[in-house]
């Protein structure tokens, strides 16, 4: 659309956008404030906008017993995190192979997450956090690997079978989760598989496959066929030409799809709630804070919510372009 030029008009545009900003942010800001309050402040009848912030709730959510040398450990952890993040952000300008840098950072974060409970006596919440990371990572890896193969073949094969699979996948994308989850529960309890993270991962991969293959297919269709054909003339077979020629070109689309898989796996509540008894991921763990009526749970739930939301917000904001591209890719073409 052509831009509004008049001064009053510009003011109105910003007024509307700012109002919508406030509307979008209110729950986040309020929860953030509650998470920094003492129980007494949080229960004040008139909402307190000014208060003395405390980190006690976060400590209660994460740490069971504060060790004596807490300050030294905290400083060390901060230092390592700062170092790794700095390395990640400057990876592109370093003269070393980027993959090496990313691998090093990944190993560094893994080591940190492993070492922390050895140094500090952590709450169960930390275990749920680690479990969530593992389930999410495994789901992304498996789902994207098999999804890429299927998405690519669906983009290139013109037979009737491809159309049938696509339409069936669309139908399955629409079905309510419960129609699958209840039978999973039944099979799981017959085979004594309940509470295994592996079952959760496989179920997550399956229920997200329809979406994944549709999205990846749309990205692979954008890539011209000549590309792999010239590679195949040079003697590479289909799989080799796919892995060496197509995947590098399709990489941005694959990242977009991986982001959505990340959200779907990290967000999943119902499936994990039914298939696990104690090996929870964060959404299920946090929902436990809201069941009871005990007084200090409001502030704890707030701190837990903020803790679980921050990592995902950081990741998504970093990859925001890919997310927006993914959202609009399906739509504009669809």
């Amino acid at each position: 659309m052509d831009p509004i030029r008049s001064r009053a008009g510009r003011r109105f545009v910003h007024f509307v956008l700012l109002s919508f900003t406030v509307y979008s942010l209110v729950p986040f800001v309020w929860t953030g404030m509650q998470s920094l309050k003492t129980v007494k402040d949080a229960f004040s009848r008139t909402p307190l906008l000014l208060f003395e912030p405390t980190m006690q709730n976060y400590q209660d959510v994460w740490i069971r017993r504060v060790p004596e040398n807490a300050e030294a450990i905290g400083l060390g952890v901060l230092l390592v995190v700062a170092l790794l993040v700095g390395l990640l952000l400057s990876a592109r300008s370093l003269p070393i192979d980027n993959r090496l840098v990313y691998g090093f950072c990944l190993a560094g974060f893994g080591l940190l997450l492993w070492a922390l409970p050895q140094l500090v006596y952590m709450q169960k919440f930390y275990d749920y956090f680690i479990n969530t990371l593992i389930v999410t990572a495994l789901t992304i890896i498996i789902s994207i690997s098999i999804g890429c193969l299927a998405g690519y073949s669906l983009a290139r094969y013109a037979g009737l079978a491809a159309v049938v699979i696509l339409i069936a996948a669309l139908a399955f994308r629409a079905l309510p989760r419960l129609a699958f989850v209840l039978p999973y529960y039944w099979i799981g309890s017959l085979l004594n598989l309940l509470d295994s993270s592996l079952l959760v991962v496989i179920a997550l991969v399956a229920v997200n496959q329809p979406f994944t293959i549709w999205m990846l297919r749309s990205f692979f269709m954008e890539i011209p066929k000549d590309l792999e054909e010239s590679a195949m003339v040079d003697g590479a077979n289909r799989l080799q030409s796919f892995l060496r020629v197509i995947v590098p070109v399709a990489w941005p689309g694959i990242i977009s799809t991986a982001l959505f898989t990340l959200l779907l796996a990290y967000n999943e509540f119902l499936l994990v709630r039914v298939l696990t008894q104690s090996n929870w991921t964060l959404p299920v763990a946090i929902s436990r804070y809201t069941g009871n009526e005990s007084a200090d749970e409001i502030t704890l739930a707030a701190a837990a919510s903020v803790s679980a939301t921050l990592p995902i917000v950081v990741v998504i904001l970093y990859f925001q372009k890919h997310l927006v591209k993914g959202l609009s890719a399906g739509a504009v073409k669809g």
């Binding site: 309020w30 496959q209 289909r238 119902l270 669809g334």
Partner: protein, 287 residues
């Protein structure tokens, strides 16, 4: 691509979908004909159509059906209208400012639904910010009852998914051909006329896309209702999904819950089949 290569490439994905989506659906259908609780889970008892008769005569099931229909009827048009309007405004700014607005508007959508609901709920606790605002404005106490809980569920639904429609419409607006707008300006069309006669028809295919996915997703809404309908146990504001869930987990009638799940599948399929046929024809023509 040859047929054999196609099947080799797609088989991992197709097999996992067959094993974990088609087979479970068949099992759900089979379990729906059985009386089963957590106690006789290894040996369900065949009861034929009794579960279905039971569900169709269950007043709470129909109440949950009605609320699901109301939810869809209010929430889906709100997503479309609010998303379109905000996308038009977002289109008026550019560069860094636009990026910042976009990031903020996306926040609800990227938050875990359960957690976003808990955050929303914090506003309506007895000591919450909006409870206080409501009490100042209306002069009455804010109480959790069936109506207020249902209103909160609908409000949350609108708040949570609007970012999706904003992004989709915004992406569509970026591809709007400038010549069409310019031609209309030369003809002396006002802004509202241009929106009505050019922009809205131009994005109509997006609207169809959004409607399809919105109806699908609002029909099977679970997470937010699960958290919010627990607010006042006396007045359950159940949707079909949460009612099915509580039938399985709290009432422990697993067979009946499976029958309900099958009924909801049939319900969504009735809506979906015309669209699937359309897509099928489109794909056949495209290849």
């Amino acid at each position: 691509m040859k047929r054999d290569t196609f099947f080799a490439f797609s088989s991992p994905s197709v097999i996992i979908m067959l094993l974990l989506m088609v087979v479970p659906l068949a099992i759900a259908l089979w379990l729906g004909f059985h009386y089963m609780t957590f106690r006789n889970i290894a040996a369900p008892e065949w009861v034929g159509l009794r579960n279905y008769v039971d569900v169709l005569g269950d007043a709470r099931f129909w109440r949950s059906f009605n609320f699901t229909a109301l939810y869809t009827a209010v929430v889906v048009p709100s997503w479309v209208v609010i998303g379109f309007i905000i996308a038009l405004f977002l289109d008026q700014v550019s560069g860094f400012v636009r990026g910042v607005y976009m990031s903020i508007f996306l926040l609800p959508f990227i938050t875990v639904p359960i957690i976003a609901t808990i955050m929303f709920k914090q506003l309506w606790e007895p000591s919450g910010l909006l409870t206080w605002v409501y009490q100042q404005l209306s002069g009455t106490r804010f109480r959790m009852n069936e109506t207020s809980v249902k209103t909160l569920i609908i409000f949350f639904g609108i708040w949570y998914v609007t970012p999706f429609t904003i992004v989709v419409y915004f992406a569509g607006l970026q591809t709007l051909p400038q010549e069409m707008i310019e031609a209309a300006s030369i003809d002396g069309a006002g802004r509202l006329q241009k929106i009505r006669h050019i922009v809205i028809p131009y994005v109509s295919s997006l609207t169809v896309f959004i409607l399809l996915f919105s109806i699908m997703d609002s029909y099977r809404v679970f997470d937010s209702v699960y958290v919010l309908s627990g607010l006042n146990p006396q007045f359950k504001a159940d949707t079909m999904m949460t009612y099915t869930f509580s039938t399985a987990v709290q009432v422990q009638r697993l067979g009946k819950a499976n029958a309900m799940a099958i009924l909801t599948v049939i319900g969504i399929m009735v809506v979906l089949i015309p669209f699937l046929r359309l897509m099928y024809k489109e794909q056949i023509a495209e290849r």
